[in-house]
Symmetry: C2
Subunit: 317 residues, 2 copies
């Protein structure tokens, strides 16, 4: 592991002109329900609507002029696509984004609005990758992987860094885990800046791969995929699994009902819009009361890009 | 009109321990779309989920020990019910709330959670009033009207007061208008604290009574009621129509589609949950670009109490 605190601090300075220092909100009523004192870092209010801009922006700004010359390319159905499209525009370069043809219109529109060129393909990992490969060969664009990239991980680390700076005396930080970019970055910031605290992750039972990788040390696949937390479907990577194994205290699974209940609390009590993936950490706190009650817990709400004309279905009984 | 600046300031001090000083948010992307610089006062984050606690709390705290002795009573299907239930609990008194039997479960539950006694009746104004009258006769509880009450209006004035204190140099303030408590309170604060600015109101075409009263000087009824802005269905009162006629610059009507578009912008760009009524002011800004472009506009987002399992319908095409 070769990401230092100096590198995280340098990344933070590098991306600061392009990101918001997002607010940390509290909720008396959710504190009462959970028994813990929660500090919710609102990356749903971040530029592009999610924390992904931190890693994407840092990666793009870290490329050399030569590497940047032909633009930037990636594949993503979600927030990383918006992050790279936004970052490319900031440096005046073209973004090539491969998206599954099934991507929600609202996400496609956002990527288009940032001026990126979108190529649609079948929603299969192999086809996404081969389509991207073709584009890179044709254009010479630089590839920025959504999480298996140290510059991306370093950028994501700035989120927990801000949370630790803004809220003294946290006992623990919890993030959701998908590909592990946010979790490994957060784990590194916690390691350097708040050694006595613990870092935990939440993962849906319906995308339970990180918990397997955490135990085996290898990139594992989920037994099945069935979750509304659509930002958490990917597996870990070699880079993220190594950092997570070293620095993360534990990973907890939560059910779909636990995610939905936590999501409803955030909507109803905090009056803010977050993606279902964001509710996973709160679901962990509510599930493991014995571990978290009475403690000061930092929670990263990862993003807020939802299709509002279709989000009620999460709450139907 | 007998509400002074000193009375507004005294009300503010009186209710401060019980309310939040809500944040004022901005949105680069909504500024770009509107051409104006908007400052959105987020009463959706207020205690009880709406500005109504300001007036309700001030009215309850202004009652004498003798008046308070037998508790407090009101009728409301909405935010005033929660405000009075909350305020009564703060002073250790019982609240009696008459609600239409058709009230959404989420609102009924909130009122119950504050410990109020609810009486359900047919959703007709006359029956609500006669049911309330019976309760008052039986219990001796003090009636706090949702807006035809100077203490309530004075309490609502504190919202624009905070906005004016927190954002220098506003050119205009816009609020929605239902019964006119918020609008008349805001108009008074603007009159005393920001004389060069203008105050406007937005009203749904599907509940267009205030615009008639504004012209005639009498309490008028809407020709028809058909709007998603369910906080704005009531007529003005003698007290509010007088203040509004004197201090408000103009009232603008907006269509259902204009309300929905503005609501969608708030949800998608700001990632916050507000009631449809809250979107009416933004709809006014978007409709009257010639009047507001280039200006610094304060907008009061009135509340955030929505049934999240049923809110997608607003956005269906």
């Amino acid at each position: 592991m070769n990401i230092t605190l100096d590198q995280i601090s340098a990344a933070h300075e590098r991306i600061k002109p392009f990101i918001h220092r997002t607010p940390v909100l509290t909720s008396e009523s959710i504190n009462k329900i959970s028994g813990a004192t929660l500090f919710l870092k609102c990356e749903n209010f971040q530029k592009t609507g999610s924390f992904k801009i931190r890693g994407g922006m840092n990666a793009v700004l870290s490329l050399s002029t030569e590497e940047l010359k032909q633009g930037i390319a990636t594949h993503s159905s979600g927030n990383h696509a918006q992050a790279i499209a936004f970052a490319a525009r900031q440096v005046g370069k073209k973004a090539y984004i491969v998206m599954p043809a099934t991507s929600p219109k609202v996400k496609v529109d956002a990527v288009k609005n940032y001026g990126a060129e979108i190529t649609f393909c079948e929603p299969k990992q192999k086809i996404l990758e081969s389509t991207l490969k073709d584009i890179i060969q044709r254009t010479g664009a630089a590839f920025v992987h959504p999480y298996d990239n140290y510059q991306v991980i370093t950028g994501q680390a700035t989120c927990a860094k801000e949370l630790i700076e803004d809220v003294p005396g946290l006992d623990a930080i919890i993030t959701p885990v998908g590909g592990g970019g946010l979790l490994s970055g957060s784990a590194l910031s916690k390691h350097y800046l708040l050694p006595p605290a613990f870092i935990y992750a939440g993962e849906p039972e319906g995308a339970a791969d990180a918990i397997l990788s955490f135990r085996s040390g290898q990139v594992e696949r989920a037994a099945f995929i069935n979750t509304i937390a659509d930002g958490l479907l990917t597996t870990l990577s070699d880079k993220t699994v190594a950092i997570i194994r070293q620095y993360v205290k534990d990973i907890f699974l939560v059910t779909e009902q636990e995610i939905t209940s936590a999501l409803r609390l955030i909507y109803e009590r905090m009056k803010i819009i977050v993606e279902p993936s964001s509710a996973v950490s709160l679901a962990v706190v509510l599930k493991h009361r014995n571990l978290f009650a009475g403690k000061r817990i930092g929670i990263i709400l990862t993003g807020g890009n939802v299709d509002v004309s279709n989000s009620d279905k999460w709450f139907k009984d």
